[in-house]
Symmetry: C2
DNA sequence: TATATTTGCAACCGAATGGTTTCTTAATTA
DNA sequence: TAATTAAGAAACCATTCGGTTGCAAATATA
């Protein structure tokens, strides 16, 4: 069962979990309280997130605290950054067009 | 059939298609040549990408040129940027730790 | 006009997905 | 010690997914 980070963030519930534990570690029960699903379903999501190393576990007695591995999110950022230059370039081209139009106006 | 941009980029083949048409528009046939699947499979992927407005079609005779809608990619960038500040903050904290260690060393 | 090419669509198939219920294990707590 | 609580694992189920084959429509070409 290969886990991909892009597949992990594809599910809206998992993205919500990520947002939830981004600032403080939480137990599966505490996380599940925020959703209209069973704790077991959340547990499954957490397993997927753990498998692709997006979250880490910290055992504390019988409780397990899950926290976001922010560093792992960089992988998505790296991927999207390929295209960032593209839309910035497009923006610059638009900018140039506007500038040209402005100059043409001034020349009249 | 609701289409989500995060679900769209979850599939590796679709990410490859995105990379392929990022710089020049291409027809389904031309795109399919780069993969070990049938043209119909690629067509399905293109449909999904079109439905979530990640790609646009341009009809030219009987051919259809698909091109990436780079602007749409910003949505992912916006999402990831929430967490960018988090890992930058973490980096700064590490920076601070290193600085403190350096200072302690100097004080000895 | 007849044939070839490009494409999308529908039907089908096996595998994966997200969810549930039930059960077990381990740690608390009364 | 007995009961409770937190959590994961397994079995199951309906739905979706990614792929295939086969077909129809539209355009281009002989």
């Amino acid at each position: 069962m290969r886990r991909d980070i892009f597949q992990a963030i594809a599910d809206p519930t998992r993205r919500a979990i990520i947002a939830l534990i981004a600032f403080q570690a939480m137990t599966p029960n505490a996380i599940a309280e925020n959703f209209h699903t069973t704790r077991q379903a959340i547990s499954k999501h957490l397993r997927i997130l753990t498998e692709c190393e997006l979250v880490t576990q910290e055992y504390q007695g019988r409780e397990i605290y899950y926290s976001l591995q922010v560093e792992k999110m960089k992988e998505i950022d790296t991927w999207i950054s390929q295209y960032r230059t593209l839309w910035q370039k497009r923006f610059n081209q638009l900018d140039k067009v506007l500038l040209t139009m402005k100059n043409q106006k001034n020349e009249k």
